[in-house]
């Protein structure tokens, strides 16, 4: 298989405009003859479904929750980037492009990232017109802030609810199309397979989560906006229902999976308090602006933090990185926290935490200032831990937060299966090996509002799509297979719960395919995962009935898919012997212990083709840098 990125020719800044002109346009009268299936209602899915409906296509939109407004995009707090340069601090499309491609450690496509920076400005216009209540200054114009270490203030925000408000904007546009009869909504439906006819994506099978029925849906194209796969780790900041099943079904039907080992681990989460916990809470990384990170110098020091004198504290980030100190990027901060805990210097009951101390900031600026800056976060921390961070240092620990990898797509956001398009976090495309803060919302909406609605027309306008119906053999087959899979899960009646299996898998991934990876650990993971998978299919215990609401059964189906995906993540991590972005291979570091890229051998996208269970073929899409020169990151 030859991977064709379909990146248009010409100068970087003109590619997207030229491409838009070159693409086929579907006659407005013909649009209503096309049915497009959109799976997912997050920022990417909802914005795409709404925009396609407006254009005149017939859209069927699916989500697993009770309402499209619940999608996990709502949880994003910080903000959304755009190159508006409203603050006159020297921002530009070029600077946003450069920061994003550099932040991704030069493992993303130039043309995609440039287009993302270009349309970032349209997103803000769109959201404002929809009534998204971005923060304003007294003159009625926008308040912007700097975020995630950016040198310019390009982040737009709506209190701590930017994701929620942007999603409500997209949801409102979607509901308008529902009222107009252009979009049919299917809540509480889970996509359990993708249906191919003549090699093209022509529909999906869904399980009705209320009745347990398997339903066939025919379309002329299928769009997946189903998010990332961070929940494979069991403990993550993702919503408990976030899952990888839709992309995994598509992968097994032929869609290549790009860079599965690129996972982002966020440094400022509230550590887990006990074994019962499956979901971690993220705190904004802005806390690191004023908090100082430390652990005791001595391993096993169990004294109360306030009793540990200054000379016995190790402010390890400030010590190792005098220039950036506590503000080093997410991956560096996370890795160092793990390292000190591995040395036995972790704090709290579990020993899996480091201190984030505001004592000095309160001394310097006064408690009132710190309250103004972080009051809501301190309140949230108290609510969860019952500790007052004004009096004792916060405890933080890293957690899985976002996956940069995903289904491989070309410049048109189409996967290697004709007709199957993938948008938002579910694709691999724009963040390279590491995502910058306030960029996830930007990419989801860019794909959904401004890229896919054009590129899908090019596909529909230039492809033979004979009429098919739900009675086609391919639908019956896929539906029977899905039913058999779920029936099998219920029939095993083993001794271990789904949650126990999930936790075990998560521990393997976290310990061996987590913040720091090495050959030995990855090889061990590749032995352990298939064994665990085998045990799962022989010994899992799933409760309840197939023909009613049964969340334990839904969960079992998702964990079954993680058992396969986890193996690919480890395989990809093993093959990439360089370090880049969120992927840190211990064998590849600089003398100072920093991630060392190997551009000569690894400047490519790793796209994996599913052959059979446990067997994949690697395809490489070379990454060519014509406009920027890859450099080594340094935060000393």
């Amino acid at each position: 298989m030859k991977l064709d990125s379909k990146v248009p020719s010409g100068p970087l800044a003109e590619k997207w405009d030229k491409h838009r002109f070159d693409m086929k346009v579907v006659n407005p009268k013909n649009k209503r003859k096309f049915t497009i299936i959109v799976v997912g209602t997050g920022l990417a899915g909802a914005s795409a479904a709404a925009s396609l409906g407006e254009l005149g296509y017939k859209v069927k939109n699916f989500c697993i929750q009770d309402s499209p407004r619940r999608a996990h995009s709502i949880a994003a707090q910080g903000g959304i980037n755009a190159a508006k340069n409203y603050q006159n601090d020297g921002d530009s499309i070029w600077r946003l492009f450069y920061d994003t491609i550099k932040g991704g450690d030069y493992r993303a496509r130039e043309a995609n990232v440039y287009r993302l920076a270009q349309v970032s400005n349209n997103i803000i216009d769109q959201a404002v017109a929809q009534g998204v209540p971005f923060a304003r200054e007294y003159g009625g114009l926008f308040a912007n802030r700097s975020f995630g270490g950016a040198l310019v203030s390009r982040t737009f925000y709506a209190r701590g609810q930017t994701g929620q408000q942007l999603l409500l904007g997209a949801y409102s546009a979607l509901m308008r199309q529902v009222d107009e009869g252009r979009v049919d909504l299917y809540p509480r439906r889970e996509m359990v397979d993708l249906v191919l006819i003549d090699g093209k994506a022509r529909g999906i099978i869904t399980r009705n989560l209320v009745t347990g029925e398997y339903e066939s849906h025919v379309g002329d194209a299928v769009v997946l906006g189903t998010g990332g796969y961070g929940t494979a780790y069991y403990l993550s900041t993702l919503a408990v229902n976030s899952n990888a099943s839709a992309v995994w079904r598509a992968h097994k039907k032929g869609a290549l999976f790009g860079n599965p080992c690129y996972v982002q681990i966020h440094p400022t989460c509230i550590p887990r308090s006990g074994d019962y916990q499956s979901k971690l809470t993220l705190m904004s990384e802005s806390l690191r602006n004023d908090g100082r990170v430390w652990v005791p110098k001595k391993a096993g020091d169990k004294r109360h933090p306030n009793d540990i004198p200054e000379e016995e504290r190790d402010y390890y980030l400030e010590r190792k990185y005098p220039t950036f100190g506590n503000m080093v990027p997410r991956d560096v901060a996370s890795r160092n926290a793990k390292a000190v805990c591995d040395e036995g210097r972790g704090v709290g009951e579990t020993g899996l935490a480091v201190y984030l101390d505001f004592r000095d900031a309160i001394k310097d600026f006064g408690r009132k200032t710190i309250e103004e800056r972080y009051g809501n976060l301190f309140d949230m921390y108290k609510e969860i831990t019952d500790e007052d961070a004004y009096e004792v240092p916060m405890r933080i620990y890293p957690a899985v937060h976002y996956t940069m990898g995903g289904l491989w797509v070309d410049y048109n956001l189409m996967s290697t299966i004709p007709g199957l398009h993938v948008i938002g976090e579910a694709n691999f495309s724009d963040h390279g090996a590491n995502r910058l803060g306030a960029s996830a919302l930007m990419q989801g909406l860019s794909d959904g509002y401004f890229v896919l609605p054009y590129t899908i027309g090019n596909y529909l306008g230039g492809t033979e799509l004979p009429k098919v119906s739900e009675d086609h053999e391919a639908f019956k087959e896929a539906s029977n297979e899905a039913k058999a899979r779920y029936d099998k899960l219920l029939s095993i009646k083993g001794n271990k719960t789904v949650k126990e299996f999930h936790k075990e898998l998560g521990e393997i991934l976290w310990n061996k395919v987590g913040m720091a990876r090495n050959e030995k650990g990855l090889k061990e993971a590749l032995e352990m995962i298939p064994k665990l998978r085998e045990e799962f299919w022989q010994n899992v215990k799933v409760a309840g009935r197939p023909d009613s609401l049964n969340k334990n059964l839904e969960f079992a189906g998702r964990v079954a898919d993680y058992m396969e995906l986890a193996e690919l993540m480890a395989k990809d991590a093993l093959h990439r012997t360089e370090s880049c972005g969120g992927h840190f291979r211990e064998e590849s570091q600089t003398e100072e212990g920093e991630a060392l890229r190997d551009d000569e051998n690894f400047s490519y996208v790793a796209a994996w083709e599913f052959k059979k269970l446990g067997e994949w073929e690697l395809h490489k899409e070379p990454l060519v840098f014509e406009n920027v020169t890859p450099t080594q990151r340094s935060y000393k």
Partner: protein, 251 residues
């Protein structure tokens, strides 16, 4: 900082589906860490049920950080539990005493039929939103963001109203099962912004009609909705909705 684990008795509503009669059943959960969230306690209970070949309790939840609006049960008679300004997933077990019995029920309102156990159908809210919970703009066909000036006060107030997460606690708490706070919040959010003014009349008209059609009751100013709202949305939203509705009727 050693904390003592506690024992909790959970008296919970079990109902097979919308057409079957439900009943309360009491379960014991031992060794509950007070730092646990209420939903984590239910997770532990469900794991125990599964291991004992029993059927786990179904309850809706997703983000578990108080923002998605998916969770929501009545705990000891109060929607989202004892603490104000929080969702069910933000309730912590340290708010309960060792040996306490906790009564857990689904939202009870005619427009929110029970699907199973604690899970209800809230699609009525989506249907109301489809009738006008938006500003009619097309993708791309919009003015430059800075061309619309919004006074800070309006932006802040609109944000207060836009904070609604659509959980339905307001309906569950209202003796009339009114959705006035939900609709009022959206009418206010959009009506407070200059972008939302052109279709303000049509919006309030259509949303209110749909609200009535769904079978939500009338608002008689009890204020229970405001008391349980996890985002602390003020009932001034309802007053604003009435003003807008009146204006639409006379103008």
């Amino acid at each position: 900082m050693e904390k003592k684990n506690i024992t909790i008795y959970v008296k919970v509503w079990r109902q097979e589906d919308a057409n079957t009669k439900g009943r309360f059943q009491t379960y014991t959960v031992e060794d509950v860490n007070p730092d646990m969230s209420f939903l984590e306690m239910l997770d532990v209970l469900n794991e125990n049920l599964i291991k004992n070949d029993d059927i786990p309790i179904e309850f809706d939840n997703d983000c578990r950080e108080g923002i998605c609006g998916m969770c929501g049960v009545v705990i000891n008679g109060t929607a989202h539990g004892p603490k104000s300004g929080t969702t069910t997933c933000e309730v912590r077990m340290r708010q309960f005493k060792d040996g306490q019995t906790i009564l857990v029920e689904p939202w009870r309102a005619r427009p929110f039929p029970v699907i199973k156990d604690l899970v209800v159908d809230r699609t009525a809210f989506d249907r109301i939103m489809s009738k006008g919970g938006y500003i009619s703009v097309r993708t791309g066909g919009v003015p430059e963001a800075r061309s619309i000036l919004v006074p800070k006060e309006n932006a802040d107030q609109a944000m207060d109203m836009a904070a609604c997460i659509g959980c339905g606690a307001c309906v569950a708490a209202c003796p009339n099962a009114s959705a006035a706070l939900f609709v009022g919040a959206k009418v206010s959010h959009l009506g407070l912004l200059p972008q939302g003014r052109p279709e303000a009349k049509r919006r309030v008209d259509r949303m209110v009609v749909q609200m009535d059609e769904e079978g939500f009751g009338a608002c008689s100013n009890h204020g229970e909705c405001e008391a349980v709202c996890p985002k602390e949305i003020s009932i001034t939203a309802i007053a604003r909705m009435r003003r807008e509705f009146l204006k639409a009727a006379v103008g």
